[in-house]
Symmetry: C4
Subunit: 125 residues, 4 copies
């Protein structure tokens, strides 16, 4: 039996989806990703809230990460209840019903070649 | 009611604002950013102190992050009590009266295309 | 006598080995690396499990980090029990019998010059 | 009186100083840096040990970070007891007699424009 690993509440302070991209999509489309790992035996139901500088938060966005799977979720693809605006500062909080691990990555291809950033998200204890 | 998340004291060891930029500003202006997330219900009053290699610290710089908002603060924009010098090693400590989350990002556009780095800041327990 | 340092269980949420590279290998071959540091006096036996989006995990992969040594392990080089597919989202869990430190790095040389990302992995407490 | 902040023992799993650089030095010289922040009122005496894949560790390297100062230390500049070899995998442990904060950054200018990576180091509890 797999052992659950991680935390149930994570935060990503940085967030900004470039509106422009150069290069073939979807690989080289500029994107922000939350890499979610569910190493446990139960499906993880994750609720995401997105915070902005000058308006109320958006969400809840709901995704599921099956047991013993990873989901590399592009913020670009979030549509319900509303898409994330481009070229706009945001931050996010991810809450799961079982422990998961979250890492944040951006690929920015506005000016080729692309630039990358990544960090483990902040795990709320 | 939103739940406070994070810590009240954070540190960023790295700091260096490139003096040069190539590309249209402000997006492609070389910058250092502290992404502050206040997921709680109370405004966060944040005091920033900036440390250098060979002189006394600068500050206090004061910013507010409203409840349930994020502020992506460019160190480039800090002016009071004094601007942060360019091409100069620095580090920073951020102290808030309520819990927040801090992530550090640099965009360096001295040589296009730009380079990126990012990391969650160090959360003092 | 050296003092053990780190944790026994680590996770890396991000994982994606680019299939393409430009530039002389192996240095400029696009790769994903787990940098393992064993600062202690006992050899570290590490078991790696790799998680995917839509299939069961791969592994166990077994590596040893000798006492007071570092191993910068390319996921590209893992072959037993099976290679890691390219251009495929994955995540990983690393379990050691003695404390180690793990940092995750990618060099992406699909479009020269290359891009870099790095973060300390998530240390499970 | 300033308040000490951080930990006394840190580790950086990643380490690799590129031998080549393009662009004017020292700014664009490829380098690995440990950004040390001493926010406290006492000078920090730091001892660094460098670990390799296939030989005994190098060190101790000794540096001082004065009270309320930051030191962005390039591993390139370490000479005593021996320089860090280029194009060679290494890792490092930093031990201080007072709490400090450590962040790891690489600038890689082998192929201009340069690439950047950064992460807070691993804080041993």
């Amino acid at each position: 039996m797999a052992q659950a690993l991680g935390q149930r509440r994570w935060a990503i302070g940085e967030g900004w989806i470039p509106s422009d991209s150069v290069g073939p999509g979807p690989t080289f489309t500029s994107h922000e990703t939350a890499c979610l790992l569910n190493a446990g035996d139960q499906n993880a139901n994750v609720v995401i809230t997105v915070y902005f500088a000058d308006r109320d938060p958006a969400g809840p966005y709901r995704v599921q990460v099956p047991a013993r799977r990873t989901l590399h979720l592009r913020f670009n693809d979030l549509d319900e209840p509303e898409p994330i605006p481009r070229n706009t500062d945001y931050a996010s909080v991810l809450e799961s019903d079982v422990p998961i691990v979250v890492q944040h990555t951006r690929l920015d291809s506005r000016q080729p070649p692309h630039a990358l950033l990544s960090t483990v998200a902040y795990a709320a204890s």
